[in-house]
Amino acid sequence: MSDCCPGSKTMDFSEKTDQGDSETGKRPSQLRQWPIQLHLVSPQAPYYQEKDVMLVADCVPFALGDFHKDFLKGKSLAIACPKLDSEQEIYVEKIKSLIDDAKINTLTVQIMQVPCCSGLVQVAKAGADKATRKIPLKQVVVGLEGDILSEDWI
């Protein structure tokens, strides 16, 4: 693959990354639903009704060590990849339906710092613009090594 695209550029931070203290014991999953992929989920599902929803780029939970504890806990989830997924117009309609029909409370879009990931924010904004209801929309950008680069209401 070409090194030109930051989204697919090969990088190795196995030595640089702080591994942290060794952990013992099990950390429980905070996932409270299935399915989670945006093509597969239904806005009519009970776990979306009036909830705070996370729309998360596929790569985020792998980069973010404490994704379950710090972000997923207490939230409902949908995941997608704005670069590789097809038929994203369906995504826009699903976001609209989540806002208008499921009457979700907030939508947090969590993406990686790579440029192609911002497409997921555009999908969320397009769905929110088409919706009749208005809700707060937040963008969280995650660095390649799992740090939070920004967290803003947009």
Binding site: N105, T108, K134, P136, D152, W153
Partner: protein, 266 residues
Amino acid sequence: MLSDIQSREIKEVIETCPEVGNILEEYGIGCVPCSVGSCYLSDVVGIHNLDPQTEATLMYRIEKAMYPDRDIPEPKVDLTKKVAPKEINYSPAVRNLVEEHVLIKRMLALIPAITDYVDSSDGVDKELIMGCVDFIRGYADKFHHMKEEDILFKYVDELGEIIQVMYKDHDTGRNHVRQAVEGAESGNKAQIREHLFGYKELLTQHIKKEDEILYPWIDRQLTDKQVGELFQKCSAADASVGEELPRRYEKFIIDLEEKFLKEVSK
């Protein structure tokens, strides 16, 4: 011990040691002119969300000013570590409140020209003053301040001193407006000037405190769930008065600006 200062009321601290007021001013913490001053020093500093290095230095300087003979270790500050300026990112409902401040500030900016006009006229243009009072009561107070009092402030400790200061500002503002109305009714130009200017000065500081300190402080405490609830409650409050009300008041300000700013530029 630093803790003995932190739990003292700011007015008392500044009265005991005026230098503390100067130090706070240097850090953009304007407690000196506050008429209430009953906030604890720890809350006053905490609400400004300073970075840890700045806060440690500030507290060291305050303690040293109050107790020059005390042996206080200087905080280790890494001057090479630059702290990025914080950009305020309001939650959507709070952002709308900040945007409403803009129209109120446009009214405040017109007050000098309006009072000059009243002073130079033969009689008192009662309709003009009552129009301004209607804007202040209908837009600034009923439409805007009520959303703060009935909705936003419920998300924090309403009995806390910081919120009580905001309530007191609202009440003082209402009193200035009552006095300006009395002046308009009795034809007392000095009374109109005194209280419209009093309102201008009060609200200018009040809005600055809210935009820069109070609103970001409240936002930092809100969960996403609360941000969503707050947004829906404020939207419902806006819907209950209709879209026409803010538009009508914006037109009122535009008309005043056309009249008085043209007068000023002549």
